[in-house]
């Protein structure tokens, strides 16, 4: 069959979506000659953003800060990043106004604090986020740990979960307990762990290996490692400037570690549509 340039154009211009481009004059022009059908098809095939659940306590400012810094790093990597928080976070000031930055990261609040409310908000964000990008991305949802007490048969929100843990023995015990609780409610769950407050990489490796071995032996859970975040005063000092670590101190070990973790998460999200 004879082909013309339009048949293969998409190979050479992968960055152009069927949605729209901005011309040099600033006016928006459709690429396709049949806009409505093409746009509909494009949206139908665009990957939804993956939903990542983060059990973080209401008062855990440090882990919340790690979460929004990760969201900003995902945005810096060119993907969409949306944080969904329980309704009660609206007045808690846990989340800074990251949507005000020039990066593609925003915070949305659910209309409730329970898992169904959070799931509705996350699903909406996953769909609307897919309309804005072809590069995929993440919807990161803060789960109040109290909501995990009576999981029963599980929640659709808890398909992919990231647990933050330090290498404190009691913290590792808690992480194991959370992983087992989540796994019992849903066997197809994928649980990742990011260690933080780490001074040396070898400490993080030892801690994760121990956690992974115990989880596999005692509960049949295959934990995934999503890297380690170094214990660095730059984390705090960057936040003093009310900017994400990666913006305030882009060359710091903390910023590089955050970027590595964000890249791992994004890579996993692109492999499979999760959540």
């Amino acid at each position: 069959m004879r082909r013309d340039l339009s048949d293969v154009l998409h190979y050479f211009l992968p960055e152009l979506s069927a949605e729209a481009v901005v011309s040099s004059e600033g006016s928006r022009h459709r690429l396709a000659t049949e806009p409505s059908q093409d746009e509909t098809a494009s949206l139908a095939t665009a990957p939804l953003l993956s939903i990542l659940a983060l059990p973080i306590a209401d008062s855990d400012v440090v882990r919340t800060a790690l979460a929004w810094n990760l969201a900003v790093e995902v945005g810096r990597l060119g993907a969409a990043a949306v944080v969904v928080a329980p309704a009660r976070d609206r007045d808690s000031a846990l989340w800074p106004a990251i949507s005000g930055s020039s990066l593609a990261a925003e915070v949305l609040y659910a209309d409730g604090d329970d898992l169904p409310s959070l799931h509705r908000a996350a699903a909406d964000a996953a769909v609307s986020g897919a309309r804005r990008t072809e590069d995929g991305g993440l919807v990161m949802v803060r789960i109040p740990p109290a909501e995990l007490r009576d999981l029963g048969s599980g929640s659709p929100l808890l398909r992919w979960v990231l647990l933050f843990a330090s290498n404190d023995p009691r913290d590792l015990l808690e992480t194991f307990g959370l992983a087992r609780l989540l796994h019992r409610s849903r066997e197809d769950i994928e649980i990742g762990v990011t260690l933080h407050g780490i001074k040396e990489l070898s400490n993080a490796e030892e801690s994760f290996d121990r956690l992974e071995e115990v989880s596999r032996r005692r509960a049949g859970i295959a934990l995934q490692s999503y890297g380690a975040l170094v214990d660095d005063l730059d984390v705090y000092r960057a936040i003093v400037a009310e900017r994400a670590v990666g913006l305030a101190h882009p060359q710091s070990p903390a910023a590089r570690a955050l970027c590595d973790v964000a890249r791992l998460l994004l890579q996993r999200a692109r492999e499979t549509e999760l959540g």
Binding site: A57, V62, P145, A146, R149, D168, R170, L173, G177, R210
Partner: protein
């Protein structure tokens, strides 16, 4: 949304520290403030849930090294007086074989101080203090730079140590009710003693 910022507190409010002691992990129960030791005062004398004595000392930027030296001196001074304290105030709940450790709370620590603290394992824990500003409201949060270590074996001579009066099973206190960082407890997570022994 209220203004949000986190800043390194150059001077940490003593009242804030006092209020936050029960929120630490493990939680600390305040026994005395500004207790005069050999030549300086101990900011806070506290007890952990197992009845071990924890001395909390707070300092400002640049005071960390001096504070470490003072903490070790305070620890030695308190250790020598534990038996007296038990006799004078049995209601405090100091464990019969209580250990004494110190928590140093500062806005920053020099690498030398961190290295020095690690050489006295089990004696000193370094904790960074951060002030979170929520609009006009300020809240202090702690982030441990070094981990609290489990109490060491009894320091009393073996000949004078009291024999256990109960079997290990009888002595098992059950799930620890102290909440984890998530706010959930061992019971919430369905943790069994054998799970706990894997990590702690």
């Amino acid at each position: 949304m209220a203004d949000f910022s986190i800043e390194i507190a150059h001077r940490i409010s003593r009242d804030d520290v006092s209020r936050q002691l029960p929120q630490l992990s493990p939680p600390l129960r305040l026994v005395a403030k500004d207790w005069l030791a050999e030549s300086h005062r101990i900011d806070f004398v506290t007890l952990d849930p197992e009845g071990h004595v924890v001395l909390v000392l707070q300092g400002s930027d640049g005071e960390d090294a001096a504070l470490l030296v003072r903490a070790l001196a305070h620890r030695a001074w308190v250790k020598a007086r534990l038996d007296d304290w038990r006799q004078l105030a049995p209601q405090l709940g100091i464990a019969p074989q209580a250990m004494v450790r110190c928590v140093l709370l500062c806005p920053s620590f020099l690498p030398e101080t961190v290295a020095a603290a690690e050489t006295v394992e089990g004696a000193v824990q370094l904790v960074l203090g951060c002030t979170i500003c929520l609009g006009t409201d300020q809240r202090l949060v702690f982030e441990a730079l070094t981990e609290p270590t489990a109490p060491r074996a009894p320091e009393r001579p073996a000949a004078t140590a009291a024999p256990p009066e109960t079997s290990p099973t009888e002595a098992d206190p059950g799930p620890d009710p102290t909440p984890f960082r998530s706010g959930l407890t061992e019971a919430d997570l369905g943790l069994l003693p054998e799970d706990v022994r894997e990590f702690v």
